[in-house]
């Protein structure tokens, strides 16, 4: 197999084009009086219920990157690929604790981004801008990751990758331009239906073909024991990577954007309880990587690991199903790219342009600027994804971004619980966190996000510890000099739920 007939291409293009068209049609979905409003365009006017938010947020966890990078990591590093599940388990209790508070304060004060909140919490537009720019810098490689994730699919289908990717993602930019958050919300529903269908078929069929799970794990263990348990030296790296990624996820602009799209905090709490079920499929996706090892008869070299998922599908399924599964991967990259570009555009508009360049900008002007920024960001991500080195080891790209975004944790999460944090202490922590992350990454030549000199600890967590220590020392100095006071203009009661 591996060669495609005309009908396979029909299946592929019908699905991909169908989703792109749905993105444009989303403009008419629950259409507001005006779309020329940053809140309507940017966060769907706080309108989405439990079901839509489930797909919108689930879309963040379950993307093209998931389908390609998680089996890829499992195929080259064995059980290390399971970090995605450990990470998935640790995401939602944090979401449950923090995001209802964030939603309440954002609804009361009309915030569109986390940096909007930081500005008022600390009475500091400079700190807000730092948080905003960190978000954008972390987000762009994440978008590029979505694009790189589907390059291999394009290549296997003999579609010229550069042209195909450019057309697909400019259309994504186009539908986000028109429909705002409504586009990823509507397309996420279709996307998840397709991905779930593809993954369920694969995880049922592949183990059967390999003689059942037991036999598959045995064969994998015989090839290399790291497929069934971690090498003990990687234990610290494994748990810190999982914990760090879990803490980082809802600091990303797109996750906050999706959360603020919810119509009330009940929607967010319910989803925190329900979304973990996505992890079940994520676990099976990781196991596809182990199946790839068994089929290949050896571990994948990390430079080829992105091929693990396409390999399994190409070699074990008829071409029509392969076309369907590949369409699922492509669709899985479109939806996240849309919401990620949107979240970054909102940050640049609100916390850089509005704050520093034109404070008279109306909501209409802001919504238009954000639209054009979406296009600019997607073009930038496209260029980024065409850099050859980026397409190798794509999972590490995201972990770099994760290490940076983690350094906004004190400003965004900690401040939800205390009004006493001082902007200078938090700013210094951010500087130390970001600076040290860069230093550590340099020291190991950007080869990984795990820091070998210290037991392979995840650099994001190591820097976060230094960051928090700096914040602690800063607060201690303010305490000793008697300068600790309530900061910002937000009252504690504004974090509470609305009365019915």
């Amino acid at each position: 197999m591996g060669s495609f007939a005309l009908e396979d291409y029909v299946i592929f293009f019908v699905i991909v084009i169908g989703v792109l068209v749905a993105g444009f049609l989303a403009y008419f979905w629950r259409k507001p009086k005006t779309m020329e409003d940053i809140s309507e365009w940017g966060i769907g006017g706080h309108r989405f219920g439990t079901v839509v938010v489930w797909f919108l947020l689930g879309g963040d966890l379950y993307t093209a990157y998931t389908l390609v990078a998680v089996p890829g990591l499992a195929s080259s590093s064995g059980a290390l690929g399971m970090f995605a599940i450990t990470y998935g388990i640790m995401i939602y209790p944090i979401v449950y604790a923090t995001m209802p508070r964030m939603w309440n304060v954002s609804k009361r004060r009309g915030y569109i981004t986390a940096a909007d909140y930081v500005k008022d919490r600390f009475s500091s537009r400079s700190l807000a801008m730092l948080i905003a720019l960190t978000g954008v810098v972390a987000e762009i490689p994440y978008i590029a990751l979505q694009i790189v994730g589907i390059k291999f699919v394009m290549e296997s289908l003999a579609i010229p990758a550069t042209i195909g990717l450019s057309i697909a993602f400019l259309l994504v930019a186009g539908f986000t331009f028109f429909s705002g958050l409504r586009a990823p919300a509507l397309t996420a529903i279709i996307k998840d239906a397709i991905i779930w269908a593809a993954v369920i078929v694969i995880v049922i069929y592949v183990p059967i073909k390999l003689g059942g799970f037991a036999h598959m794990f045995q064969s994998a263990a015989a090839i290399n024991p790291i497929t069934v348990k971690l090498s003990p030296s990687l234990e610290l790296g494994y748990v810190t990577l999982a914990l760090g990624s879990a803490l980082a996820l809802f600091l990303y602009p797109h996750a906050i954007t999706g959360t603020l799209g919810a119509k009330n905090t009940k929607t967010i709490r319910r989803n925190s309880a329900l979304l973990p079920l996505y992890n079940v499929l994520l676990l099976f996706v990781a196991i596809i990587g182990i199946a790839a090892v068994v089929q290949r008869g050896s571990l994948y070299p990390s430079s080829l690991s992105s091929l693990a998922f396409p390999d399994v599908v190409l070699k074990m399924f008829p071409s029509a199903f392969t076309a369907f599964a590949f369409a699922a991967v492509v669709v899985g990259s479109i939806v996240p790219a849309s919401i990620m570009a949107l979240g970054s555009a909102n940050l640049l508009t609100r916390n850089v342009y509005y704050e520093y360049i034109n404070q008279k900008a109306s909501s209409k002007t802001q919504s238009w600027l954000s639209r054009f920024l979406v296009i600019a960001i997607i073009v930038l991500a496209l260029l980024f994804s065409f850099i050859p080195v980026a397409s190798k080891d794509i999972i590490f790209l995201q972990t770099f971004g994760g290490a940076f975004i983690l350094q906004t944790l004190p400003a965004v999460y900690l401040s939800l619980y205390t009004r006493k944090l001082n902007k200078w202490a938090v700013g210094a922590g951010w500087l130390v966190g970001l600076g040290s992350a860069l230093y550590f990454l340099f020291e190991i030549a950007f080869a990984s996000s795990l820091y070998k000199p210290l037991d392979f600890i995840y650099i994001g967590i190591l820097s976060l510890v230094l960051n928090l220590a700096t914040v602690g020392i800063g607060m201690l100095i303010f305490y000793l000099t008697g300068k600790v006071k309530n900061e910002g203009i937000i009252w504690d009661s504004e974090f509470q739920d609305f009365e019915k």
Partner: protein, 70 residues
């Protein structure tokens, strides 16, 4: 509901996932051919979801949470 109880219920998975690594990074006992490392995590997906659901249900019982503001 009691904030401390809520915190404990939400924090439990972190203890078993982060500090538990030395315990769950093993192959045996297997379950249906699955190495312990894999099925332990499969089980924890459900436990973590249940814990968060319990917090939600307890909070909802206390007061009618977050239905306004829409």
């Amino acid at each position: 509901m009691n904030a401390i109880l809520k915190f404990i219920l939400l924090a439990i998975p972190y203890f078993f996932m982060v500090l538990g690594i030395g315990i769950y990074n093993r192959v045996n006992p297997t379950l249906g051919g699955w190495p312990f490392f894999y099925w332990y995590q499969l089980v924890w997906i459900f436990i973590a979801a249940i814990l968060t659901s319990v917090v939600y249900l307890l909070e909802r019982k206390d007061k009618n949470l977050g239905t306004g503001g829409a």
